[in-house]
């Protein structure tokens, strides 16, 4: 337990990438913050159409929340296996994470298509435009994360847990846990107050 930065990576280039990725995550956080501000600003703009109370389903929001939280833990277990140098463990936990993330995306797509079918699509009102932009942007990030998990599954299978692959897996973990933090904002700002209104 000496200076942690001294033996994080043997390769300074990989360490620089960790910092670069962190800067990206912070700028992504600013994008989401602005989408949240836009959503709150447009919350009253329902144009006589559906209100948050009409379109949000607490049970589905809860299921989505649990899937994403569970996927964060399983990714954590993949990280534990990575530190323990267990290739099989990493592959198994990553695969479980992928299934949980895919379940989340499935629920979100069924929510979106259901709303659009009921005439509550993004073109209906300012409120719905802001809702689809905020939650859709998060969903796109999770989908990108799923693709990245597949890429990492392939790289780990072929190349093993070499320093470059380990470093990428660490950054994917930051990305995945970051998206769960954004989701805390979404259920606390969008779904819970919406269902109560």
């Amino acid at each position: 337990m000496t200076d942690a930065t001294a033996h994080r990576h043997p390769d300074p280039a990989l360490e620089a990438r960790d910092f670069g990725f962190w800067v990206y995550l912070m700028s992504d956080a600013i994008i989401f913050a602005l989408l949240f501000a836009t959503y709150v600003t447009l919350l009253g703009g329902t144009d006589g159409g559906p209100t948050p109370h009409d379109v949000f389903d607490l049970d589905r929001a809860f299921a989505e929340t649990m899937l994403l939280l569970a996927s964060s833990v399983t990714f954590g277990m993949a990280t534990v296996s990575m530190v323990a140098k267990s290739k099989g463990g990493v592959l198994a936990w990553l695969a479980i994470t992928f299934v949980l993330g895919a379940g989340f995306i499935f629920l979100e797509i069924s929510e979106f298509t259901g709303m659009i079918a009921e005439g509550a699509g993004p073109d209906r009102s300012g409120f719905l435009s802001a809702f689809f932009t905020l939650v859709g942007t998060h969903g796109l990030h999770v989908s990108a994360g799923l693709v990245w998990i597949l890429v990492m599954l392939a790289q780990i299978s072929v190349k093993g847990l070499n320093p470059a692959v380990t470093s990428r897996l660490f950054r994917l973990g930051l990305f995945w846990h970051f998206l769960d933090i954004v989701w805390i904002g979404i259920f606390s700002v969008v779904y819970l107050p919406g269902v109560m209104s």
């Binding site: 337990m1 910092f19 913050a33 600003t41 833990v73 277990m77 296996s81 769960d180 606390s188 109560m196």
Partner: protein, 105 residues
């Protein structure tokens, strides 16, 4: 941001503590809304407070942002992002809600 000095079992314990706290902090606000336990204004305050705590829990246990071991430049970047977020969310809401008020929307 630093995993190298942690043993697998230490790391596993840290994730399990994190998820237990996260689960509690998620279940409370959902229960409040599902069962209508408190008035709306109180509920919004509790939801906001628990969300902030849960973000901190995730940062510490899942993103390994331990202020004692995280690299200084990461902490500085995060501090800068938080300042920007406060200015931009606060400024947007201030201006737009004032506009709503003046337009009597």
């Amino acid at each position: 941001m630093s995993l190298a000095h942690k043993s697998p079992s230490e790391l596993r314990t840290s994730y399990l503590i994190g998820v237990t706290l996260a689960l509690i902090l998620t279940l409370i606000p959902f229960a409040i809304v599902a069962f209508g336990l408190v008035p709306r204004e109180t509920a919004l305050l509790i939801i906001a407070a628990l969300a902030v705590i849960q973000v901190l829990v995730h940062l510490y246990f899942f993103l390994h942002m331990d202020p004692r071991t995280a690299p200084r430049e990461n902490i500085l970047t995060m501090g800068f992002a938080i300042v920007l977020i406060f200015i931009m969310i606060g400024g947007s809401l201030w201006i737009m809600l004032d506009l709503h008020h003046r337009m009597m929307l």
